[in-house]
Amino acid sequence: MGIDLPLIWAVIIAFAVMMYVVMDGFDLGIGILFPFFPDKRDRDVMMNSVAPIWDGNETWMVLGGAGLFGAFPLAYSVILPALYLPLILMLIALIFRGIAFEFRFKSNRTKPLWDRAFSYGSIVATFIQGAALGAFIQGFKVAERGYVGGAFDWLTPFAVFCGIALVGGYAMLGCGWLIWRTDGDLQARMFKFMPRIGLAVALCIAIVSLWTPIAFPKISERWFGPNIFFLWPVPALVLACVVLLIRAVKLKKDVQPFLLTLALFILSYLGLAISVWPNVVPPAITIWDAASPPESQGFLLVGMLFLIPIILFYTAYSYYVFRGKVGDDGYH
């Protein structure tokens, strides 16, 4: 039996994208929370809490993008033109946000300007990521190995809803992160914020979970056919996470809320993977259709297998170094 390279690559890219979503998710979430926390000292603490790690978090997006081009060039060449304008906007938003992050620390008079760039950049980038996800679930019009739809095919009520939902989702992750990393007054306000944002996100998950099977018969078949016997734990666990999250906030637990928001994201991601599997470009291109030949996938796999453990190790190390609560002036 041979090695199923496309499957290995699908797992690697899915893993990279998931790492990106949860990790850049909470630091984008901090930018989304900015309008609710206008005080300069609060903002300093919020940004300090992710300052050492956000750059590393974005590494995963580049890894996912480069991996997609290397291993599934067909998917890369269909999805990117289909999402042309939103992707360009997202890159620009991320550039602004990244630069704002750096120059905010070096600026005095221009600080409010960089604050705004950081906040708007985070919100726009997140909304587009959510909308792109919605568009991905909807699927793309493909003929002769190329995208044949229009420039705004992605812009549907469903995609817009996914965009808004993700803005809420990342804000929730950011809130969970700050509960863990801050203390005192700011933490107390984050505790107050969490149930509201948590329930809103839970509602969004419920709506998407109903919307997709109604709008897309294939997804309905996947979930409500005989598969339901072993797929039912996914929605059940989502429900359990929401209940536990509310409880953890009531009991003023430090770490639990963040872990539970992470669990909510991972479960939703898993649900999404179940819905679209084995397509890399819904509705019809599978990972095996889009895979580059084994000599290409194998050639690149060597480098990836060497790199991923190192990135994981270094990431874990920098999180370890910067553990603990953040004060006004940084880490205690």
Partner: protein, 466 residues
């Protein structure tokens, strides 16, 4: 069509614009990384304070440039899909892995040794820190290796087979080490070194013009001028070999560079003129008889093919290639002159108090960047109308996106790059103006200086206090 431009020309303009911005930062950081390794090595060997002062000074500038390079590089890695998706599908099996390796190397560096290099001076031993600096320098070169391998393959493809109109890899060794790759790699790495040398030289000259006794300025100026004197001649030699390689594999490009429309035996060297693509001749040409043949074939009467040997639809934009090539050569010559001038002054022990020379070196500060851009325009515009030379035309590589989308995104990039990189370059110039000998506070927990964020390697404020 928008303003008479179609999606192809706009997508090409977008690629040219974004990569021209991008290439400046990596080119500078490739040279700077090696320079930093040399400075730290000299400090470890001699223990002289001036070397570590210079190291810390240039490290800050390296950090900001590296950050800018990463930001502009992310855009590049998506552009193959957004604007050139047909190309990504047709050639993805070969270029996908090569480009991915480039990205992987760059990020491996950022994840690994860059943090230690920027922030670890007081946290790890001297030996380990020097090792990290060397690894960053080697890593930038490995990154260059992959990206130039991919680019060279598009110029001189081999090691592939075409099945159903798509490329498949047959031999990775042949693909990676394609015929133009060794020359292009050498030419680019030396260009990066020269660019850095002239920036370092200009900063040194600037501070010498203010105060001739500035020891750090003297040291960096002297090092930069040694580099100019030694590397500029080597670069001209390597450039010539690269040109001969191009003549062998892409003779139409060389014809455009030389402005030859007709084939001749004993062809002249056209110094200047106005290539007229429509008329098929170079007007008002100032020529040196026979020299063109001598340079390219090493024979007085060697034959040089003119563009008319090929159908007109296979010609590149002759004027752009012709002029870009001349700008590059002119700057290369000016660099050689600066190098020779420095040797002359050094022999007379007047290197540090020749004001006119310092002004000239200051003016030459940005020369390397201009030369690199001119060189890239020569080779890339010269590759047209092909995206993979002789095999796929650029117009068949385009994404199926509308001209409006390409126009909007191009406009957005121009505005955003304008803002972001103006701020970045302003900040870099500010750092350079301040000069060495500013003390560096400790990094670590609670400080604005944090590992993983290259830009935080510098702590100088961007604007005035409130």
């Amino acid at each position: 069509m928008i303003f008479g431009m179609d999606a192809e020309i706009l997508a090409r303009a977008q690629f040219a614009f974004t990569i021209s911005f991008h290439i400046l930062f990596p080119a500078f950081t490739i040279g700077l990384a090696s320079y930093l390794a040399v400075l730290e090595g000299l400090w470890l060997k001699t223990g002289k304070q001036v070397y570590i002062d210079l190291f810390r000074f240039w490290l800050k500038i390296f950090a900001v440039s590296f950050g800018m390079g990463v930001v502009s590089g992310v855009v590049m890695s998506y552009q193959f899909g957004t604007n050139w998706s047909r190309f990504s599908d047709i050639a993805g099996n070969i270029l996908g892995p090569l480009l991915s390796y480039e990205v992987i190397t760059a990020f491996f560096l950022e994840a690994g040794f860059l943090g230690i290099m920027l922030f670890g001076e007081k946290k790890v031993g001297k030996g380990i820190h020097f090792f990290a600096t060397c690894m960053v320098a080697i890593g930038t070169l490995i990154s260059t290796f992959w990206i130039l391998s991919a680019n060279s393959w598009m110029q001189t493809p081999q090691g592939y087979e075409i099945i159903d109109g798509r490329f498949f890899a047959r031999s990775w060794f042949e693909i990676v080490f394609n015929p133009s790759f060794p020359y292009r790699l050498m030419h680019m790495v030396l260009a990066a070194y020269l660019t850095t040398a002239f920036v370092v030289g200009a900063v040194g000259a600037y501070h010498l013009l203010r105060y001739k006794g500035n020891e750090a300025a003297r040291t960096m100026f002297s090092m930069a001028m040694w580099m100019a004197a030694l590397v500029a001649p080597i670069q001209i030699f390597v450039g010539d070999m690269h040109g001969l390689n191009t003549l062998q594999h892409q003779p139409a490009k060389v014809a455009a560079m030389e402005g030859h429309f007709e084939s001749h035996k004993g062809a002249p060297l056209i110094l200047f003129g106005l290539p007229d693509r429509a008329a098929g001749e170079t007007k008002y040409a100032i020529e040196i008889p026979k020299l063109g043949s001598l340079i390219l074939t090493h024979e007085w009467n060697g034959e040089i093919k003119g563009l008319k040997e090929w159908p007109k639809e296979d010609w590149p934009n002759v004027a752009v290639v012709f002029w870009a090539f001349r700008i590059m050569v002119a700057i290369g010559t000016a660099m050689l002159c600066i190098g020779l001038w420095s040797l002359f002054l050094r022999a007379r022990k007047r290197l540090y108090d020749a004001t006119l020379f310092h002004r000239a070196a200051l003016a030459m500060g940005p020369a390397g960047f201009v030369a690199i851009l001119a060189g890239w325009f020569t080779t890339e515009v010269g590759r047209q109308p092909w995206v993979v030379y002789g095999l796929i035309r650029t117009k068949d590589a385009l994404s199926p996106v509308s001209v409006e989308q390409v126009a909007i995104s191009l406009a957005l990039f121009v505005v955003v790059y304008g803002i972001v990189f103006t701020t970045g370059v302003y900040y870099l110039l500010k750092l350079m103006r301040l000069g060495p000998l500013t003390s560096t506070p400790d990094g670590g927990p609670g400080e604005a200086r944090q590992p993983m964020r290259p830009l935080s390697g510098s702590d100088i404020p961007l604007d005035k206090p409130e």
